[in-house]
Symmetry: C2
Subunit: 124 residues, 2 copies
């Protein structure tokens, strides 16, 4: 099942198992319409964990229609300073991300993500 692969991908992120990221993500992908390499994508994720040390991806809704997945992720975390241009500054915030993925040959090659920035603003 593609959703099983996706759950393994999320477990890989939560474990910060960067060596395994290439098992789930292609060497070249599109992220919100921008071309990224796997290295770019890994650096983006590593930066997220640097800026949010208690970052944890919590799957709340998962819809599968191969080769695509849609997921609603919930975050309850403490960004150290700025996040999405907001001065979160060590406050605990709760927000969701609704995100679509397209898979090719069992690996992600396209991501369309929207993070609920308005929900974070309402908590600051």
């Amino acid at each position: 099942m593609l959703s099983d692969v996706y759950r393994q991908y999320i477990a890989c992120l939560n474990a910060q198992d960067w060596a395994s990221l290439g098992m789930f993500v292609h060497d070249a992908l599109q992220y919100n319409g921008r071309a990224l390499t796997l290295d770019d994508y890994r650096e983006m994720l590593k930066r997220d964990f640097r800026e949010i040390p208690d970052l944890f991806f919590d799957i709340r809704l998962l819809i599968e229609e191969p080769p695509r997945i849609a997921c609603r992720l919930r975050f309850e975390c403490t960004p150290k300073a700025d996040f999405l241009g907001l001065h979160v500054d060590g406050k605990r915030v709760v927000f969701c991300e609704n995100v679509f993925y397209a898979f090719r040959d069992g690996k992600i090659d396209n991501v369309w993500s929207v993070i609920d920035k308005a929900a974070i603003e309402a908590q600051l």
Copy 2:
């Protein structure tokens, strides 16, 4: 197919056919964790069209796993004044909404929506 029902729902919104909304939406629903009546939901949509006269729901991605739907909607429109607390003020903006729906007996009874507010901010 649930996706056919969903496409009819979106056509209903684009036609502002408010008399038919109850064919697609239950009398009581949850919207981003908030309890709404069908009347509340209709009023929210009517207000959106008042504030954004050229509002048009454009389906870009649609994933179906009954009883749930996930959709990425694209908007290219001209909010007259404020939108999501931003002073859009008649500027043409392009943004997406990633949204999940749960259906019961063929009608929507739960919506989880995230609008890409950061994308709009970047255009102002």
